[in-house]
């Protein structure tokens, strides 16, 4: 019995997307990585071809598909071995904020664009002094009549350059209790007072436009608040679950990509290179890596099934997030160890995978925070 049932329609979608990637994405990845940027136009092409937000309801122009369609997209993108076009962040992490907490007016205004790629979304929580301790966010939002004035700065914001619409977590400075002070606001690109800072130069994820964002007396209409005032912390806690699940999924898909690449390398070694499979140690290493990837994938798939049934899987999602991201780093690291000196050159594709992998144990909630959550759940 399959944990998740991918139908013929899902597989047809996959074939169509694979063709799309071959034409529109794969040939350009090396350039994007070198240039430390990917073009915004790719998002529009994704949208035009129906590959963004496949789960959004048809009344907003969506496909009305299930989460498995998202899984198809995210897996095929993971197998392109780059992390610039971080579609799962837009489609499966941030747009759900709008779909869940948005008013009808907000949804009608923005969801169609999220699907076509005209409205790319990002979420801004992290600040220079605030990472794990979300309650300590210092960006302020002061509601004045029918406007909100936002001041502060955010950093490490993915899709920071290409985004059209940002979900900004900000606090009401007049509310003492930090857990009741936060609200979420929709800030559109181009709003006076909202500026995109520099791209952050990173160890990996070179084609991803991670950036700083600045808000200086940025005025938005009160109608851009997303959900009820003071509910921000709870909203974030609720939506971070799917974020962590999507990251866990990306981690196992990337680990599996790396494993498949190394296995293929062993089966078809380049001329004049050693036959790795002659080594028992290599065989055992591959066996261990394959076992762990299979276990990780099984766990994540089961969690997705539970998540789709709206079960409370906070503890398990935290387990999955930390374990699969450690798995990814471990799998790619071991893979390079098997290859040796060839793995010290960027011409080896898995070198990029290795560099990209190092952030997974940190973003979307550090693995240390995940363990804190798990322990808390065990002893509540």
């Amino acid at each position: 019995m399959e944990i998740l049932h991918f139908t013929e329609q899902h597989e047809a979608y996959r074939n169509r997307f694979q063709d799309f990637l071959q034409k529109v994405v794969t040939p350009f990845i090396d350039d994007w990585e070198r240039d430390h940027m990917h073009p915004k136009s790719v998002w529009k092409k994704m949208g035009a071809a129906g590959f963004l937000c496949p789960w959004v309801a048809t009344e907003y122009g969506g496909m009305g598909g299930d989460l498995l369609y998202s899984m198809v997209i995210n897996r095929e993108l993971a197998r392109t071995n780059h992390t610039g076009l971080i579609v799962y962040l837009h489609s499966d992490i941030v747009v759900p904020y709008l779909a869940t907490f948005g008013t009808e007016a907000q949804k009608k205004k923005f969801l169609p664009g999220c699907i076509t790629g005209d409205v790319i979304m990002a979420v801004a929580m992290t600040e220079p002094d605030t990472g794990s301790d979300i309650a300590a966010i210092t960006t302020t939002a002061v509601e004045e009549g029918d406007e909100v004035v936002i001041n502060g700065s955010k950093t490490f914001i993915s899709i920071g350059q290409n985004c059209d619409l940002v979900v900004v977590a900000a606090r009401d400075p007049s509310v003492a209790n930090p857990y009741q002070a936060l609200s979420l606001y929709l800030v559109e690109d181009g709003t006076p007072g909202f500026s995109k800072g520099n791209k952050i130069d990173k160890m990996g994820m070179h084609s991803q436009d991670t950036s700083e964002l600045f808000f200086h007396n940025c005025r938005i209409p009160l109608s851009n608040r997303l959900g009820e005032k003071g509910q921000g912390f709870l909203q974030l806690m609720q939506k971070l679950q799917q974020e962590r699940l999507m990251v866990a999924l990306q981690a196992v898909d990337s680990a599996e990509f790396a494993l498949d690449w190394i296995v293929d390398r062993c089966k078809h070694p380049p001329a004049a290179s050693a036959d790795l499979l002659q080594s028992q140690a290599v065989q055992f290493a591959l066996a261990e890596m394959a076992t762990e990837v299979k276990i990780g994938k099984t766990f994540v798939y089961k969690l997705i099934a539970d998540h789709m049934e709206k079960k409370d899987v906070v503890q398990e999602t935290s387990m999955a997030k930390y374990w699969t991201t450690d798995l990814l780093k471990r799998t790619v690291g071991r893979g390079l160890d098997l290859i040796g000196a060839e793995g010290t050159r960027e011409s080896c594709p898995i070198v990029r995978t290795w560099r990209d992998a190092q952030i997974y144990s940190i973003f979307a909630g550090t693995n240390e925070i995940m363990k804190t959550i798990i322990a808390k759940q065990m002893f509540k």
Binding site: T126, D129, T130, G131, S132, D133, A136, T155, F156, I200, D201, K202, M203, G204, M205, S279, A281, V282, K329, G333, L336, D337, L338, I339, G340, A341, G343, T344, R345, E346, S347, V351, W354, R355, Q358, I359, S361, I362, F363, T366, N367, E368, K371
Partner: protein, 383 residues
């Protein structure tokens, strides 16, 4: 058993640290790493201080010192900056081979230039497995009167394209018994017919050039043979211990450097109303890192001391290489984690130390090959 450095060893450590502290800047490192460029100006200064010729005999303007001093130097420089330190310590990789296996007049012709900082030297960094006697070099040298004529391609040459000379293994007598087929030959960097092939960006150690070299009928005088003709494979195999020690030194410094930076960071970064250095798990992680470094240090110093007793223990050196580069990698991974998002940013140095650590771990013998060597020594060959 005394676990103390001699006074002169302590002075060397101090001299290296002072040099690195005053000359290595973050801006210089960031720039050179970005450009994948060798630190020529720094190399000059290091050479003038004798740092790049510690082991050459004094006749060749060297320090006449041993491997422990080299390890101490490498550790101190890499602690300050893994990429700069490694580039400087690897700048004379070819000269190290010449010094060890060559004879006059070849040695005096080339080593003084290295000691004076006038030229880099290159060679292939490879762990030469003991059963590599059947190894067929990718370069072939034919006798032609007073010269060797060399054809082929040498892969992964340290300081490729930059060196004044290279010491490379060439097949010189295909009909000889397996261990005697090849010789190490010194090739000047400006030889006609010698072309550098850029093999692209590296993961780490980006200030150290590693390229391919193609040889098209390169004519080299016969007296450029290093040591005796036919001894090449034996020479390279016996150099394993030394190349392991060098990489261990670089790994050790990288581990310590990334650890020091992390301690500094966690003592000032706050979250949840506390310095993150106060969290028990953070403290346990640092304790674990410190333990790994100390294990690697003791192993490396002992292996280097052993080397200097003229009774090198290749298994011990191999263990040191694995332990030190492994410690560097583990510590660097943890360092990135403890720095949070900043650990992934190039603005902080820990990601560069991590890339360097991974590169050191893979160069000069991947873990599987190193473990084969250790096992061969401990258990002996059983077919």
């Amino acid at each position: 058993m005394e676990f103390k450095l001699t006074r002169s060893q302590i002075e060397i450590v101090k001299a290296a640290r002072d040099f690195a502290k005053s000359e290595f800047t973050r801006e210089l490192s960031a720039e050179l790493d970005r450009q994948s460029a060798f630190p020529h100006a720094l190399y000059q200064k290091a050479a003038e201080l004798g740092f790049t010729s510690l082991q050459f005999e004094e006749d060749y303007l060297g320090g006449g010192l041993g491997y422990l001093e080299t390890v101490l130097m490498g550790e101190a420089l890499c602690c300050r900056d893994s990429t700069l330190g490694s580039a400087l310590m690897l700048s004379g990789y070819g000269a190290d081979l010449l010094s060890r296996f060559g004879a006059d007049p070849l040695k005096s012709r080339f080593l003084t230039g290295v000691a004076e900082g006038r030229m880099l030297s290159g060679a292939v960094m490879a762990f030469f497995p003991a059963d590599g006697q059947d190894h067929v070099p990718s370069l072939a040298a034919c006798e032609e009167d007073t010269h060797w004529v060399i054809n082929g391609t040498a892969s992964a040459v340290i300081n490729g394209g930059l060196a004044g000379f290279y010491c490379l293994l060439c097949r010189t007598d295909p009909d000889a018994q397996p261990q005697k087929t090849s010789s190490m030959i010194l090739v000047a960097g400006d030889q006609k017919g010698l072309t550098t092939v850029d093999t692209g960006q590296k993961l780490g150690l980006r200030m150290t050039a590693v390229t391919d070299l193609t040889f098209e009928a390169v004519r080299v005088p016969r007296d450029h043979t290093i040591g005796k003709a036919g001894d090449g494979i034996r020479q390279l195999a016996s150099f394993n211990s030394e190349s392991c020690l060098l990489l261990a030194a670089l790994g050790l410094g990288t581990a310590q450097g990334v650890f020091d930076r992390t301690v500094q960071y966690v003592k000032q970064r706050q979250q949840f109303g506390r310095k993150i250095a106060a969290f028990q798990v953070t403290r346990h992680k640092l304790a674990g890192m410190a333990t790994k470094i100390e294990q690697a240090r003791l192993l490396t110093y002992r292996a280097a001391w052993q080397q200097d007793q003229k009774t090198p223990d290749v298994a011990l050196s191999a263990m040191a290489k694995l332990a030190a580069t492994g410690a560097a990698l583990d510590c660097a991974h943890e360092a990135i984690q403890l720095h949070g998002g900043y650990g992934f940013s190039t603005e902080y140095e820990v990601e560069r130390f991590c890339r360097d650590a991974k590169t050191l771990h893979l160069l000069g013998g991947k873990p599987g090959v190193i473990n084969d060597q250790i096992a061969d020594t401990i258990i002996g060959k059983i077919r």
